[in-house]
């Protein structure tokens, strides 16, 4: 019978197979040949018979009730065998699979088939395909280990991969290859870090486009096979070297908080100057580039791209931030203000950008970290400002030699120039003064006429502290008139520095008015010394007598000599003051002299100074000439 004949044929073929096929894969080949040769020798039949004849392979060991399940299981088994053979060969090779793009494509296809087969197996209604599933799964693990290795190598050494095949098979990846448009220029400059960078709107492509698309393909398989976490971890590990090296090239050295605290300022200043561009490089170029790379490699594979990104960015981000933290914790001498403001501004300006880069749940902690460090630096700025106040307060009042001639005190010059410069960062300073844990400073009742921002209040406070310090210093001078000169000089200087600057805006008109009236008051007080001299010439007091002239001469001579050594730094003020002294002294003197001459018995009195002499004397006051 035909049926019989077919049986015989199949039996013969099976015999041949048995004798020829010493290995599973050879058997498979032969089976394939036969099944192509004759329709009757379908693979299913041959397989089925073979298994039934007891030649089953390792995965076949089922119970006795498997008779009806033969058909699907054997089909799965066959696929598995083919895949196993295909894959094992590739897995066992030493060199990179991706060094040859066709092999890579083939391998990926096999993995796809394998994943699909496992899905089918799991969906199959039979309870007993477990052994097959195990085999498939085992094969999948091996593929994944290999893919992981390839993935890592492709990231670490993208040059070892084969150049992208000119004509890609229109397989599963045809849809995605268009998505990537690469800028060749950027690609060439893989690490454009050594050059000074002014424009941070740059993205680095650390990997050539071919590698990116290869890596994406691998990542897709790994995620599909449930190896997404491994894939993300592998990414982190593989990128670590590149990121470390990039940061190392920025010339930052690790510094402990203690080192930062005890470092001399000029050294630290240099470190900060290096840190600011490095910080921008890391947060504006390196990390966004990393984000882009992750977005591409893990396109459509959430959340693994986010995991990979967060893991890779964390170390460089924290390294940069730890220095800022240390600076924020370090000493608060006022000269640090400007550099620390720069640091603060870099971090603050960055925060909005980070909203988008660190937006996912894995990296949002990094954004918070930047914000925390930023506010720590902010409150250290506040601290530095407070320190200025302390510095003024601590400036010793009694020194062995007070400022010569009642001139400008160095602290006035320092504080005023400092505040003027600080006003250049007015916005930032107001920001840190307003914010922070302690809230705005409350400095007693706020004068409603004063600008009321925290910074303004604080500066006004500093001015008060300065004035108190100067008041105390003025008392060191023995002559009250010299104290006045000292206060006038410093007051005038303060007024000049406030005028036409941001300081004036902050302190307000009312403040300047008050300061002006203080200076006028000191000037009035100064004039007392002359009033005393003039009082000698007073006519109604006991009449005009020659002795009075002698007293006057002595006073005048003594005072003019002394006061020539005093100093009025401001030229206009000096001229005005001389003028007003002349205006009060010379007419009184003239009147006295003429009255004196009118008295007959005094006609021969020797007049030592003519009024012109007196004018000349006064004209030489306040030159600050040192005693020889």
């Amino acid at each position: 019978m035909a049926e019989n004949g077919e049986d015989k044929l199949i039996a013969t073929v099976q015999h041949i197979i048995k004798t020829l096929g010493s290995t599973d894969s050879m058997t498979e080949d032969i089976l394939k040949v036969f099944s192509n040769y004759d329709g009757r020798l379908s693979l299913d039949k041959l397989h089925g018979k073979r298994d039934a004849a007891g030649g089953g392979g390792g995965g076949g060991g089922g119970g006795s009730s498997e008779e009806q399940q033969h058909v699907p299981i054997t089909s799965f088994e066959r696929t598995l065998r083919t895949l196993d053979r295909q894959v094992t060969q590739v897995i066992n090779q030493e060199r990179l699979i991706w060094s040859e793009s066709e092999a890579a494509e083939g391998f990926l296809e096999a993995v796809d088939d394998l994943i699909a087969t496992i899905k089918d197996l799991e969906a199959a209604p039979h309870g007993n395909n477990q052994p097959l599933l195990d085999r498939a799964d085992d094969l999948l693990q091996r593929c994944m280990f290999r893919l992981e290795r390839e993935f890592k190598s492709l990231i670490e050494r993208p040059d070892d991969a084969a150049p992208a095949a000119p004509s890609r098979p229109t397989g599963f990846d045809s849809d995605e290859s268009d998505e990537y448009e690469y800028d060749e220029d950027i690609e060439d400059a893989r690490i454009p870090i050594a050059r000074p960078v002014t424009d941070y709107d740059v993205v680095i492509d650390a990997l050539p486009p071919g590698s990116v698309s290869d890596l994406h393909k691998i990542a897709r398989r790994m995620v599909a096979a449930g190896f997404g976490r491994e894939c993300a971890e592998t990414y982190v590990v593989a990128r670590k070297g590149f990121l470390e090296e990039s940061v190392a090239r920025l010339g930052l050295r690790p510094r402990t908080a203690e080192e930062v605290k005890s470092a001399p300022w000029d050294e630290l200043e240099l470190d900060i100057a290096r840190w600011i561009p490095a910080f921008n490089m890391v947060f504006k170029i390196l990390i966004p580039s990393e984000r882009r790379l992750c977005d591409r490699l893990f396109d459509g594979l959430l959340p693994y791209g986010d995991m990979a990104f967060a893991g890779a960015s964390r170390p460089p981000a924290l390294q940069l931030l730890s220095f800022a933290d240390a600076v924020a914790a370090a000493s608060r001498t006022p000269e640090r203000l400007f550099r620390v403001v720069d640091m603060y501004e870099s971090a603050r300006d960055l925060l909005p950008e980070l909203e988008t880069i660190f937006s996912d749940e894995y990296s949002c902690a990094l954004r918070n970290e930047v914000a925390t460090v930023c506010s720590a630096v902010g409150s250290s700025i506040k601290g530095i400002f407070m320190e200025l106040e302390n510095l003024i307060r601590r400036d010793p009042v009694r020194v062995s030699v007070p400022v010569h001639g009642g001139g400008l005190h160095p602290i006035t010059r320092y504080v005023m120039n400092y505040l003027r410069a600080a006003c250049g960062s007015r916005q930032t300073l107001e920001e840190v003064m307003e914010g922070g844990e302690f809230g705005p400073m409350s400095v007693g009742p706020v004068d409603p006429d004063r600008p009321t921002s925290s910074l303004a209040i604080h500066i006004a406070w500093i001015m008060d502290v300065l004035q108190k310090n100067l008041d105390a210093k003025s008392e060191v001078y023995r002559e009250p008139a010299l104290s006045c000169v000292f206060l006038m000089n410093n007051g005038k200087y303060i007024l000049q520095k406030v005028k036409d600057s941001e300081l004036g805006v902050l302190l307000g008109e009312e403040w300047s008015k008050q300061m002006n009236s203080k200076v006028r008051r000191w000037t009035r007080e100064y004039h007392r010394v002359w009033a005393k001299i003039i009082s000698v010439l007073q006519i109604n007091d006991g009449g005009v007598r020659p002795e009075k002239l002698r007293v006057f001469n002595n006073y005048l001579e003594e005072n003019c000599k002394t006061q020539a050594e005093w100093l009025i730094a401001d030229e206009q003020m000096r001229l005005d003051l001389r003028m007003s002294i002349m205006d009060s002294v010379v007419p009184a003197y003239r009147t006295f002299l003429s009255r004196l001459k009118a008295i007959s018995d005094c006609r021969d009195v020797y007049v030592k100074f003519t009024p012109e002499d007196v004018e000349a004397w006064i004209g030489e006051l306040f030159q600050g000439t040192e005693k020889r």
Binding site: Q141, G241, E244, T256, E258, G444, W461
Partner: protein, 403 residues
């Protein structure tokens, strides 16, 4: 846990901080005498610290667990806040010798703690990294145990591929842990970027776990390679002696809280270094606390002894950190690896149960770490910032004494 749970203690002090500043401006320098409220205040501070250590000692098997460490840090933060209040209340006295010297001495110690905070934080990051591997192990092995679609727990036997995956991840994990041990104990650390400088030279055929081990080398980002946690601890603890009688009287008793907070600081930092991996760990510090001098000293000393004992145990001597969960990870992963090595398919029921138990153990630790490491890290950051803040305030008020 939400981030706020340990910050709770700082809330009432935010407003206090404001008043500290505003009152400071008024230059009120009240001369404080020996009023009864001061006595009460100092006593309550001692009691607070004593409660903290009593609480920490209450369940001996919890010592050095993640939860215990968090409790310790919380306690430290609360104590520090109370100390701040005391300094504020006695700001005039603080500016006078010998108290001024004692207070600035405390802040000097506190600054040294900042670097320890950084190092320990890196260590916590390290443990996070390990835990990610543990998660993968658990994920690959545990998912096999309970595949259920209808809600019913359906157990599938372990598959070979699954086991292999678990084993590989465990080996990676072991390499990470070993690597940390090596780098932590190496006397001369070579922080080298050269390892990756010439990637072409490194072998492409090395198994992934080997190369990953090398790359995970845990050199901290925030401290230099010569930095040593052990030395830093010694610096913090150096010359910390209980105040003598005349110092106590000369400071109206205020020398006591200064000494107390210094000791709490030293102990907290010491316990952190004991618990968490960090560069050049070492626990040799000298605690010269009079056993009966303070209400809290017996509890603190006994905790100290227990931790020292723990560090000397044979199986812990080489540990990366004495944190209970780290130990459990090491133990369970070793155990699991051994089990996996001995597995022959098909697996017997007993073996399978052992395996499941082992995975379960690992999963339990993994969950604890997953929920606790991040809050711990935030807490360490909080300690850092609070130290900075109180030091600034403290130095500020000290400097006002010279007016």
């Amino acid at each position: 846990m939400p981030a706020t749970d340990y910050q709770g203690s700082s809330v009432p002090f935010a407003s206090l901080g404001r008043s500290i500043l505003s009152i400071r401006r008024d230059q009120v320098h009240s001369m404080d005498g020996h009023d009864p409220s001061t006595e009460q205040e100092l006593e309550s501070f001692q009691r607070r610290v004593s409660d903290l250590f009593a609480d920490l000692s209450s369940s001996p098997d919890q010592i050095l667990s993640l939860a215990w460490i968090r409790k310790l840090l919380e306690g430290f933060l609360v104590s520090l806040e109370e100390f701040r209040v005391i300094l504020f209340n006695h700001r005039a006295a603080v500016t006078r010798p010998p108290l001024d010297r004692m207070v600035s001495d405390f802040f000097e110690r506190a600054v040294k703690a900042l670097d320890l905070c950084n190092a320990v934080r890196d260590g916590v990051g390290q443990v996070c990294q390990w835990n990610k591997h543990v998660e993968i192990v658990v994920q690959s092995l545990a998912s096999w145990c309970e595949v259920d679609e209808s809600g019913a727990k359906k157990t599938r036997p372990f598959g070979e591929g699954q086991l292999r995956r678990g084993k590989k991840t465990l080996m990676d994990l072991n390499f990470l842990i070993m690597d940390e041990k090596e780098s932590a104990s190496a006397s001369h650390r070579n922080r080298s970027f050269g390892r990756s400088k010439d990637p072409h030279k490194s072998s492409s055929s090395s198994p992934s776990h080997l190369s990953s081990g090398v790359h995970f080398r845990s050199l901290s980002w925030s401290v230099s390679r010569t930095w040593s946690a052990a030395r830093q601890l010694q610096n913090i603890a150096a010359n910390l002696n209980a105040p003598r009688g005349h110092d106590v009287t000369a400071t109206a008793g205020l020398a006591m809280p200064v000494y107390t907070i210094s000791t709490v600081l030293v102990f907290t930092m010491w316990a952190l270094v004991a618990a968490v991996p960090c560069q050049d760990r070492g626990l040799q510090i000298h605690f010269s606390i009079p056993r009966n001098g303070f209400v809290w000293s017996p509890a603190l000393l006994s905790l100290h002894e227990k931790i020292v004992e723990e560090s000397k145990r044979k199986d812990r001597r080489n540990a990366n950190g004495l944190m209970k969960e780290i130990y459990q990870i090491e133990k369970s992963s070793h155990q699991l690896l051994e089990l996996l090595d001995g597995v022959e398919m098909p697996m017997g029921e007993e073996k399978e149960n052992q395996l499941k138990n082992s995975v379960q153990e690992l999963e339990n630790v993994c969950e604890i770490l997953k929920g606790g490491l991040e809050p711990l890290e935030r807490q360490i950051r909080e300690v850092f910032h609070r130290i900075v803040r109180s030091r600034t305030e403290g130095l500020d008020s000290l400097s006002h004494g010279n007016e």
